[in-house]
Amino acid sequence: MTELLKVVGLTREYPGVRANDDVSFSIGTGEVHALLGENGAGKSTLVKMIYGLEKPDAGFMKLRGGSYTPANPQAARAAGVAMVFQHFSLFEALNVAENVALGMENPPKMRELAASIRQVSENYGLPLDPDRIVGDLSAGERQRVEIIRCLLQDPKLLIMDEPTSVLTPQEVEILFKTLRKLQSEGTSILYISHKLEEIRALCDEATILRLGKVVGECDPKTTTARDMAEMMVGQTLHVPSRESSEAGEMLLEVKDLDFAPANPFGTRLKNVSLKLRAGEILGIGGVAGNGQDELLSVLSGEARTDKGAITFDGQDVSALGPNARRRIGLLTAPEERLGHAAAPNMSLTENAALTATIRKKLSKNNFLNWKKTESFAREVIKAFDVRTPGPASAARSLSGGNLQKFVIGREVLQDPKVFVVNQPTWGVDASAAADIRQALLDLAAGGAGVIVISQDLDELMEISDHFAALNEGTLTAPRKAKGLTVDEIGLMMGGAHDLEAAQ
């Protein structure tokens, strides 16, 4: 295998942190190379340098033997390097072809572009209609738009950042087929993921980063996922263990809930019913954008629903706002950490006051007790091992995983009766994710009811007593999690919708 990209001694420093320290590795032509590491290990910085978004302070790169110093992403694309980001940059109100054209330097005529999109999507088994409006597409289809946008440039190296985090198992299979086909045609792929089983199934080589340094290289096909995870975190993993508990009293009941969100691109919840007992963890799977945000907002009280739709502890809470629900013990943690669960420019102390003033009695006569609030913030930081200089740090200065630990910790330490959390470990590194899951398990073991909305099926299978799936705003009937097969889950997540359409 000839060498395509060689990275030698790349170093990049930010104020106060060395994000990449003397990083070297190489990718062969037609190789699928995994980049593994915890949050903050420096993966993003590294690929940003390869894609021309950041410049290294030291070190150099070689592409096909020649010097490679991309000044910007345009230069990187011209050299044959393309990237699919974790967060899509698509305009919801435009159609697929228009979105693709916006990313091109010299877009061809719309009709020709649509034809080539069709051709590429057929060649690589990525079904996509160029005339559809992006706002109507599922997350998986949106990702296809991004991938096809890259493939139209005929890249030599395709960088993919956590591509499967938004996909159903079936969609993952389609993606992998596409990636293998690309590989067989000689395209190299740099694949970033937390999901070790995926990397074992797909990748030829893996480079493992920790704290900005390369700590190991391995052949993922012959290394166990556990070994790779331990290399990543540099310590033995703490595996959560589910102690099945007897079903307790009924805590939360949602009955025939219909809800139309204010946002026109939101998902309408249709006839959603669920029951949650004390000590139970209900896992709700499904691809993002199928009503998860809406379900959380009706449970948190940010959005109100019809009378009688939500009963908590025998009381109709449909008309109560977020703080009234907190007072009686119904706590939530939304998916979006920055800007929803936490205010980016505010300190951790202020962010602790965001939800905890009532249950932690942080205010008196509506005057905040900042001392008490700060000590609560410290308590969260300590109990959940949030890595930060202190409670005065702004929320935005924390890495995603650390902020998530803070957000979860803030709610868990308020001793909720029911805790609803959306994507608790999304974009969180393996060891932090294990801590968060353990905290949820402890919460349930202590008699609280927990609803975990997540796209990570392994996670849900690991901690849930019951499992249900959200699909286009419809919730399937919950089933016992134990014994469910991947195919059954896939059917619950995507198939239920097809059945409905066939009726």
């Binding site: 104020p15 106060g16 410049k55 110093t69 000044a71 948190s300 009280g301 940010e302 706002g321 977020p322 703080n323 009234a324 907190r326 939304p334 979006e336 800007g339 929803h340 669960a341 936490a342 205010a343 980016p344 420019n345 505010m346 202020e350 006051a353 965001l354 939800t355 003033t357 205010s363 509506n366 005057f367 905040l368 900042w370 740090s393 702004a394 935005r396 200065s397």
Partner: protein, 361 residues
């Protein structure tokens, strides 16, 4: 090549340093402007910033003027800053100021010639209420029909100006004024006047109210739940909703408080320094207060200092017109420069300036 790198957190140092730097830079650029107009820049800057306070000849007159001009600016800016912090843009303080003066003066004049101690307090309440109600128009339209408060509050300024003109010419006109426009002189009616409390300082009840507002706003913003909710809403509306903030109530509170404070400022002005309702009563305090609010970084103490600084440029500017023959437009350009430069310097609070050698990369 110069690039800007985002700081992990806003810099405390630059939050304080940028207004100072902006003032210095404005002095330099303003000096260049005055030099281009054929005036000695050093003399011009000295006339604006130094002479009003320390020149033997003028200070006796202009020093008290500082508090007289600063008080309404500070009072209005404090009210505006609450809304601005929450992302609620009340641009119509000028209108609320005028209506406050009108309602307060109307209540007083309706009781003329009664002489009782409670008349002035009653007028104060009526002034605050007038400003409050005028601000409720954009507030209710916004919460009910989702209209843009910037447009509605701004347009209501022009409505208020028309009402002012009709009052000065019509229902509030002094019956003993020989047909001249303008109301009775309230500052000469003991029961309605807002006198200088300490001779030679310019301090009247409006100054007291302004200082009280600074303290109250400081406590509200830093200690009270409502102040926290205001900041949270400005930082991140979605997080605020998650924290249980009732956003409509907040709109009503912020607009209402700003309106009431602007109304108070108008009442204190009409019963004191201005003395009467006249066609040109609206002197632009309501608009200048927007500059004061931002110059003071929406911080109560900052607003206090900014109000004094801007009052100084007003008085100094008048002095410069009078002494050096600078056109008033040049003074307005100078004040505009101050805001522009301050906003431009804002970038230093959240970004670091880095000089990058392009070749080396």
């Amino acid at each position: 090549m110069i690039t800007f790198v985002k700081r992990p957190q806003p810099s405390k140092f630059w939050t304080i340093a940028t207004p100072v730097l902006a003032v210095i830079l404005t002095m330099i650029l303003g000096g260049l402007l005055f030099a281009a107009m054929g005036k000695d820049p050093v003399v011009a800057i000295r006339t604006i910033f130094w002479d009003p306070l320390f020149n033997d000849q003028f200070a006796a007159y202009s020093r008290p003027q500082l508090l007289v001009k600063a008080a309404p600016l500070i009072l209005i800016a404090i009210g505006l800053s609450l809304g601005f912090k929450a992302g609620i843009w009340n641009i119509g303080a000028e209108g609320q100021y005028i209506i406050g003066a009108l309602t307060g003066a109307s209540v007083g004049l309706a009781l003329y010639p009664l002489d009782a101690w409670w008349i002035f307090p009653l007028m104060v309440i009526a002034g605050a209420l007038g400003g409050f109600l005028w601000a409720m128009i954009p507030a209710i339209l916004k919460t009910r029909f989702n209209t843009n408060e910037i447009l509605v509050s701004l347009m209501l300024v022009y409505v208020a100006e028309q009402i002012l003109a009709s009052a000065a010419l019509g229902f509030l006109r002094n019956p003993e004024g020989n047909g001249f426009p303008g109301s009775r002189n309230l500052s000469q009616i003991p029961a309605m006047s807002n006198p200088e409390l300490i001779s030679g300082t310019g301090a009247h009840w409006g100054v007291v109210a302004a200082f009280a507002a600074v303290v109250a706003a400081y406590v509200l913003i830093n200690k009270h739940m409502l102040g926290f909710q205001i900041r949270l809403t400005g930082e991140s509306p979605r997080a605020a909703r998650f924290a249980g903030v009732k956003d409509r109530l907040l709109v009503v509170f912020c607009l209402g408080t700003a309106g009431a404070l602007a109304g108070l400022a108008g009442l204190f002005e009409v019963t004191g320094p201005a003395g009467q309702i006249s066609i040109d009563f609206g002197a632009g305090y309501g608009f200048t207060a927007i500059i004061v609010a931002f110059l003071g970084r929406l911080h109560p103490v900052g607003i206090l200092l900014a109000g004094l600084l801007l009052a100084l440029t007003f008085i100094g500017g008048e002095l410069a017109q009078f002494m050096l023959g600078l056109p008033s437009a040049a003074i307005q350009v100078f004040q505009g420069m101050l805001l522009m430069i301050l906003l431009a310097m804002d970038i230093l609070v959240n970004y670091r300036v880095m000089i990058v050698n392009k070749e080396a990369a």
